[in-house]
């Protein structure tokens, strides 16, 4: 009995296909998507991605392969930002105000979190900071808390991960680590 068997791909071939897919993907591409397209199992893909990442690092070229917002992305290296910016004719985005950053920090660590809870930690009303963060799509509403007044709860968005170069929320250093920094 003959079983029709696909010619197994070599590791090198898998790595090449992964590279091609990461290159064309507009957004960070997940291991799951890669594994669906290639019809290879997760472990194989993960190994291939890691291998590819290593290749990029060894080459020390202008590009890097990195994990961000739950997927993989090819991007430029920070060292060349000036030239890239000159070509793209872009300037760095307007920085968030420190009040907005502080509010974002509270939301990132305490999510889902309500406005009164943010006030408790910051000691100031944060309405305008929250509006800024919503406008910049760094945070999103995450439903209402079942408590008096049913206040809106907020959490961080995928854009937050992208803009702060995070794989996922677990990559944030533990909030307790910040305890001893300043005394």
């Amino acid at each position: 009995m003959e079983i029709e068997e696909k010619q197994p791909r070599s590791i090198a071939e898998i790595i090449s296909i992964v590279e091609a897919l990461v290159f064309v993907a507009d957004e960070p591409i997940t291991v799951k998507t890669l594994s669906d397209v290639l019809e290879e199992d997760r472990e194989t893909i993960e190994a291939a991605v890691e291998e590819l990442k290593q290749e990029y690092e060894d080459r020390t070229g202008g590009l890097q392969l990195r994990e961000i917002a739950g997927g993989w992305q090819i991007s430029t290296r920070t060292e060349y930002h000036e030239e890239v910016r000159k070509y793209l004719k872009t300037r760095p985005n307007a920085k968030l105000s420190l009040a907005a950053l502080e509010t974002l920090a509270v939301i990132a660590y305490k999510q889902p979190v309500t406005v009164p809870e943010i006030l408790e930690i910051r000691g100031v009303q944060s309405a305008s900071a929250i509006k800024t963060l919503l406008d910049k799509k760094l945070i999103t509403a995450k439903g209402r808390k079942e408590t008096v007044g049913r206040p809106m709860m907020y959490g961080t968005s995928k854009d937050f991960l992208l803009q702060f170069g995070l794989k996922d929320l677990s990559e944030l250093p533990s909030i307790e680590d910040f305890e001893d920094l300043v005394q």
């Binding site: 430029t76 930690i121 910051r122 000691g123 009303q125």
Partner: protein
């Protein structure tokens, strides 16, 4: 907006609090550009080189109130948050002044009145440090660029247009169309004399003529202007009266 120089780190604690007048009735006390009573308190504690776990509450309260008074001297409506903190500080201070009744029950349970505040300060400080980390991350991230978008059906501007985009385009086409029409068809120019003649004829035939109806027959701005002058002229020279029955209502041309 001020252009901030690119810096990877930012020492929030180095900044001195200062009072910045925002508008006539809003004053913002900023500490390292963070606004708020907890920031002011943290700053004062640092300034006094006090231990955060053993805040010399009387001294700090005095300092804090000094800032509040300074703000008030600017005749500024103080943010309520600052006043709440002032009240809290005074409450703690007075509690600490009270002689402690040492009974067997309270001896163990006696909570330091500062404890809640210290907890809040420490919590606040953690998030202040965390926001510094976020600041650094975003600065680094801004130096990283992904690939530009590849044109596909999905992100192609042509197919990705919203209704409003369509409307805008449609309006452009319409306005272009109008211009074309105006170029192609040359209207017969109506002279003032002709206009007066036609107006007179209409009035004499109908005895009454609605000014609105008369103007509505005009096709171009030029005709409208001519018609308007014709009306003025006919009122001046012929026995014609202008009548209006309601404010902003239609005006009737009537033969006397």
């Amino acid at each position: 907006m001020e252009q901030q120089p690119e810096q990877l780190s930012f020492d929030f604690y180095k900044e001195k609090p200062h009072i910045a007048r925002q508008s006539r009735d809003e004053l913002r006390l900023t500490l390292g550009k963070f606004a708020g009573p907890l920031d002011l308190l943290l700053y004062l504690i640092k300034q006094e080189q006090a231990n955060i776990f053993d805040i010399p509450i009387a001294r700090i309260t005095d300092e804090y109130l000094k800032y509040i008074r300074l703000m008030k001297s600017f005749d500024i409506t103080l943010a309520a948050d600052f006043l709440v903190m002032a009240a809290t500080l005074i409450e703690i201070k007075s509690k600490m002044l009270l002689p402690k009744e040492i009974t067997e029950e309270t001896e163990e349970e006696m909570e330091d009145p500062r404890e809640a505040l210290v907890r809040q300060l420490l919590e606040h400080q953690k998030f202040k440090n965390a926001s510094q980390m976020l600041y650094e991350r975003s600065t680094v991230e801004q130096a990283v660029f992904g690939r530009g978008k590849i044109e596909s059906d999905e992100n192609n501007a042509e197919t990705n247009a919203s209704v409003f985009d369509l409307l805008t385009v449609f309006q452009k086409i319409l306005s272009r169309h109008k211009e074309e029409v105006q170029m192609e068809i040359e209207r017969e120019e109506v002279s003032l004399a002709d206009m007066i003649k036609s107006l007179k004829k209409q009035i004499f035939e109908k005895k009454e003529l609605s000014l609105l109806a008369f103007f509505e027959e005009m096709h171009t701005r030029r005709e409208l202007v001519t018609a308007f002058i014709a009306v003025l002229e006919i009122v001046r020279t012929e026995g014609v009266k202008l009548m209006q029955t309601a404010t902003f209502g239609d005006i009737i041309l009537k033969k006397i």
